[in-house]
Symmetry: C2
Subunit: 218 residues, 2 copies
């Protein structure tokens, strides 16, 4: 695996810029559940995911959570380097949802490259616009979509990510993704079960009627 395959703007950097990045990057492996970045920690840097899965979420003062977006192989985690961009005035937490391997590009290195290179700055623009779009989608969901639709959409997304209809996930975890309370999710899932959409067992939500969930989420 080589960094140049993971950074789409690699060929637009000059040799000196490429060398600075190459010398500075480090490879890291973290276990599922590890918190890699939280708003209060120092600026972690840009994370380029080689394998695994990360989750970026908001954490309220009372400990409530809501998922902003997920990052997969080849994604670059920008907000872990939020100190690079002065105008970012919010705090996200990033944790590993699976065992994850990533390259860490130190903030000051990318910073120095993007000050010289319009393509490197433009790449950060595109990345930020992608994350911004995901967060805007989330606002539309929260504002205009009822929770039954959001739960249906979440279960279908999880099934697609995991490649299975039998999801090993707790009601608490689903609540944390969607920014609500466990009891609310339990009630909704029981309703889904009565409708024949899912089957519930300890720690497992099994999708029985994918087409039904898809109709519901629309």
């Amino acid at each position: 695996m080589d960094i140049r395959e993971y950074l789409p703007i690699w060929d637009k950097l000059n040799e000196d810029q490429q060398n600075r990045i190459r010398r500075a990057i480090t490879l890291h492996r973290v276990k599922k559940g590890t918190v890699i970045h939280n708003g209060n920690m120092d600026c972690t840097g840009l994370l380029l995911i080689q394998a695994g899965q990360l989750r970026a979420y908001l954490l309220s003062e009372e400990g409530r959570e809501i998922t902003l977006y997920r990052l997969f192989e080849r994604d670059l985690c920008l907000l872990s380097a939020s100190c690079m961009i002065r105008s970012i005035q919010f705090e996200v937490t990033v944790a590993a949802e699976k065992d994850t391997e990533f390259w860490l590009i130190p903030t000051e290195i990318y910073q120095s490259v993007q000050e010289e290179s319009a393509p490197a700055a433009g790449y950060i623009n595109e990345l930020m616009a992608s994350r911004f779009s995901e967060v805007m989608w989330l606002i539309e969901q929260i504002m205009w979509k009822s929770l039954d639709k959001r739960v249906a959409a979440f279960l279908l997304e999880e099934a697609a990510i995991e490649g299975t209809a039998a999801l090993h996930i707790t009601h608490e975890t689903i609540a944390n993704h969607l920014g609500t309370h466990r009891e609310v999710i339990t009630r909704m899932l029981r309703y889904f079960q009565n409708e024949g959409l899912v089957k519930l067992a300890r720690g497992v939500v099994e999708i029985l009627d994918e087409a039904g969930l898809e109709r519901l989420q629309r």
Copy 2:
């Protein structure tokens, strides 16, 4: 008034880039209420506000609204040039909240400049990060703050913008800013009135107890 006083990166552009922008910009005046940009229209361009006030908001299929942020003198409206950034996948509407004067920088001109100039691309980064931050703040408000706090915060913000405690604003307009229904706002304002925080009259919400609203919004 000169464009160079409004674009902080002006001095970092070369003469050719400055000339391209200077030749392409046009000055526009719109009346309060004019919709300047909506997601379905062509790419409007970057708007640099000289005087007045713009509002960027989401519009649901059912016609509901929620304010994302406001733009004031010297602000640059980025999302009206969203076609410039491929990864922006959402649609906002931008309308004049007051009579407004702005320069329009055509999208393709700024686009061509930022492809050559790292400072021009970096400036768009900073702007996008600012708007992103405002939207993240909004999510936190929606998720973790009750509506009474949000209404209190909105009234205080309006009073600060308008420089008066007697706000000429309808309950419908407040509802559209906060993404809720008129009836809900009317009920909340009547509660505020009973608490002695505001006084309601036809088309006017007068703040009687600013300190009380501030305590409430915390």
